[in-house]
């Protein structure tokens, strides 16, 4: 495993040498990477909506999935040289039925930064963005109903964050008589 990580680090090291002008491969105006035959685009927060609208007009008619990854405990090495890693990453999986291909959009988001909602382009992201908010606390601005979806409404905390401890809430069995 360590070999593989080292190999990947080498790859990105090539493009990141300080003397040369950083040149990364681009697609639809955003840096692009390919791994395991799957392409990923890396827009910035400003170009995120623009890119998704462009993808929609290019035939990517459906967002199949939107989720968030919390990179608090893992320094990943697969980002293009021009993309600065942030704590959260919003991952949008799009599909084009006419071209029969998939593409992934990976957006870097710092803690506390609002992400523009994709609702107006892809209304189907409503529930997915709600889930992302519910689990990670990433707020999507201009979302029609930014509320919790899986956890109870009055819940405090964001369970899928890496600093949200498991087992922090003791399990209580109410009404079970004690033997002692």
């Amino acid at each position: 495993m360590s070999d593989d990580v080292a190999a990947e680090a080498d790859d990105s090291g090539e493009t990141a040498s300080p003397e040369v002008e950083i040149e990364v491969e681009r697609l639809y105006g955003a840096p692009v990477t390919e791994a395991f035959g799957q392409r990923a685009l890396f827009p910035s927060l400003d170009t995120y909506l623009e890119l998704c609208a462009e993808l929609a007009s290019q035939g990517f008619g459906q967002v199949v999935d939107l989720c968030v990854v919390d990179y608090l405990q893992y320094d990943r090495t697969d980002l293009p040289a021009t993309v600065a890693p942030e704590r959260f990453e919003v991952v949008v999986n799009l599909i084009s039925h006419t071209r029969r291909e998939r593409i992934r959009v990976r957006l870097q988001v710092a803690d506390g930064v609002e992400v523009p909602s994709l609702f107006d382009i892809y209304p189907g992201t409503e529930a997915m963005e709600r889930e992302a908010f519910d689990m990670f606390g990433v707020v999507f601005s201009d979302h029609p109903d930014m509320s919790r979806v899986l956890m109870p409404e009055e819940w405090v905390g964001y369970p899928l964050r890496k600093d949200y401890e498991i087992g922090r809430i003791p399990v209580q069995f109410k009404g079970a008589p004690s033997q002692r």
């Binding site: 495993m1 360590s2 593989d4 990580v5 990947e8 791994a35 395991f36 035959g37 799957q38 990923a40 008619g61 459906q62 967002v63 199949v64 999935d65 989720c67 990854v69 919390d70 405990q73 893992y74 990943r76 090495t77 697969d78 991952v91 999986n93 599909i95 039925h97 006419t98 029969r100 998939r102 992934r104 609702f119 107006d120 892809y122 209304p123 189907g124 992201t125 409503e126 529930a127 997915m128 889930e131 689990m135 029609p144 109903d145 509320s147 919790r148 979806v149 899986l150 956890m151 109870p152 409404e153 369970p159 899928l160 498991i166």
Partner: protein, 471 residues
Amino acid sequence: MTIAEESESTTQEAPERSEAPIAGASAEAPEAPIAGASAEAPEAPIAGGIVGTDDRVRSRDSAVLRMSEAEVGELSLDPSHELGESKMLINMGPSHPSTHGVLRLMLELEGETVLRSKPVIGYLHTGMEKTGEQLTYLQGCTNVTRMDYASPLFTELAFSLAVESLLELEVPERATWIRMLMCELNRMSSHLLFMATNGMDLGAVSMMIYGWRERELILRFFEKVTGLRMNHNYIRPGGVAADLPDGWAEDVIEFCDIIEPRLEEYDILMTGQPIWRERLQGVGVLNEAECLALGVTGPLLRASGSSWDLRRDMPYLAYDQVDFDVLVGSYGDSFDRYAIRLNEIRESMRIVRQCVEHMPAGDYRAQDKKVTPPPRARIDESMEALIHHFKIFTEGYKVPAGEAYAAVESPRGELGVYIVSDGSSTPYRMHVRAPSFVNLQSLPHLMEGGLIADAVAVISSVDPIMGEVDR
């Protein structure tokens, strides 16, 4: 009402729309009172799809009741609430026989008509994605198989495919075909369960018994192969857990031969029934554009006339080597969704029979020592094999760093697993794209303007599995 069949080889440009007699193509166009879906047959919808716009689902004040539970609770107690006197807020579920588990709906009613609604979910939420981060890749399948409990093998498959693409692991041919056989059987059992519950929800109560009866035959076979009737943990990264037992082919053919004529009985019992048609035709219409906008996949999308099936359009396993048809609907209503599922049982059976015929010999799991535990017999004679076995089951195996998404066509739509690996033996992040979770978004739009009684038909035709919705 017709179900157009599109042959596998036919491309998107030239769909051959033939009237399939099986779905009982006799009645004329249904009245479609909901949401102004056109009642006429779309004359030449090239490349499928009911013509229509998706404005309805794009609107921000659409059929979705965008209120919190607390707000609705307060409003419903106040008789002179701001919505007007004729409107009523009512709660349905989470414990309701027709909500398929613990789905709760908040409905805004005017008389018996549903205006806006909101599904309230999360009652089965147990944090399975968080749990997935604690379990090794070997244990991961045990976790994900519990999500969609009606078709557990598909989640196992998607998880395994994602892990295998990170490992860049080749799976032997026999393992691939066993996976395909088991998944198609699972699709049959899942759709039979739908037949049973859909029948029960609409008052065809005897159908419930019949659906369960046929499903039982398949579950018995699953028990024979995997040891369990549900939550099999059978498909694992690298292959499957065990080879098929002796006499499996005869078993499969035997129960396929039993189920096939019984599907004809379903046609008599339901498909051609005037009451059945009355209850389903024109109820809960969604056109193609709306389906795409809402992220809806699976039988719901195909019912809207969009010919999209990952098995044919983005083949995985060996689906490019078997012959089957992708079924599409013409009206996007509940009847189409029912008819598509019924006929998908027949298509799955076709694939199953081909699997029986073509099942290749060979190994049922990849012989990659990093991933595959040693055979049981080796443990008795070799200390190294024992250590190897112990290491794999305690520490697990390490998966190269990276991220991958793998998707399969589950009975409910696109089921995807997104895995981020940091190079250790547990996933850094494991996310499941659950088709039921996304499809459930269409519920308010499907129910808008319909009667409460139709709401039951609509929930049933979306066929959500709450274990997968809530995860």
